[in-house]
């Protein structure tokens, strides 16, 4: 199978993630959609690594996964803090940085 179909699949997953970030208002779902976009980037990286025949892209994908894990940990901590303070769990309502 040629490399370009992996890239098309990656583009499809990225578009689904971008649409989800735009449409949804629950921060949990927004985080999931961001995760989707990062994973589509990983798929493209691994496909290009295979195309070039070296493994740098795979290492890059691993590092992207680490960054995604950090982002999810901080994001979920924020959601728990928002829930504790009884603010609306809605990204449109949360406009102020001040608690």
């Amino acid at each position: 199978m040629s490399i370009e179909w992996y890239l098309v699949l990656s583009a499809l997953v990225f578009s689904i993630g971008a649409g989800g970030v735009l449409v949804r208002r629950n921060p949990l779902v927004v985080l999931l959609c961001i995760e989707l976009m990062l994973n589509s980037g990983n798929l493209a990286l691994v496909a290009f690594a295979r195309a070039h025949g070296n493994q740098d892209g795979q290492i890059f994908a691993l590092i992207v996964m680490v960054v995604a894990a950090c982002e999810v940990a901080v994001g979920l901590g924020l959601i728990v803090a928002i829930f504790r303070r009884r603010l609306p769990i809605d990204v449109d309502e949360l406009r102020e940085l001040q608690g």
């Binding site: 025949g53 894990a69 901590g77």
Partner: protein
């Protein structure tokens, strides 16, 4: 993923149905944007003149992509990235704990922990005894 499940169980996504964006026009526009993005990326990938994209890729050696090879690369060529990633994970873990902890000193009687929900079956949602008999009863449940 497990972290997601815990937070969904804690925040309780069920009583608060996940609503789409406010105006239907914006929803359509967002969906259209995603579709246009996909079509555009597909055109860019499939219609490009790069002939290397429609091949199987370069040749690869026997140990390509094996865990042993990835580990060797992580500890030799990409050692700096590996160490920075470990520090980043540590900082993120500490930051998540600091963000999600209960503040001592700012004792809010309405604060609930997961243990409270398990202990008392009577608790509806997050409304506690401290809220009953106050103006909140007339005004309804607090908005989340």
């Amino acid at each position: 993923m497990v972290l997601y499940l815990f937070v969904v169980a804690y925040v309780g996504g069920a009583d608060d149905p996940i609503r789409p964006a406010g105006s239907p026009g914006l929803r359509w526009l967002s969906g259209l944007f995603a579709l246009v993005l996909f079509v555009e990326l597909s055109i860019a990938v499939l219609g490009s003149g790069l002939s290397a994209l429609s091949e199987e890729g370069a040749g690869w050696f026997e140990a390509y992509g094996t865990p042993a090879e990835i580990g060797r690369l992580l500890l030799t060529d990409f050692l700096l990235a590996f160490e920075i990633a470990s520090i980043l994970l540590l900082v993120a873990a500490v930051g998540a704990v600091v963000l999600a902890r209960r503040r001592s000193g700012l004792e809010d009687p309405r604060e609930l922990s997961v243990a409270d929900l398990f202990r008392d079956r009577e608790i509806k949602g997050t409304q506690t005894d401290a809220e009953r008999g106050t103006m909140l009863e007339a005004g309804g449940e607090p908005r989340r």
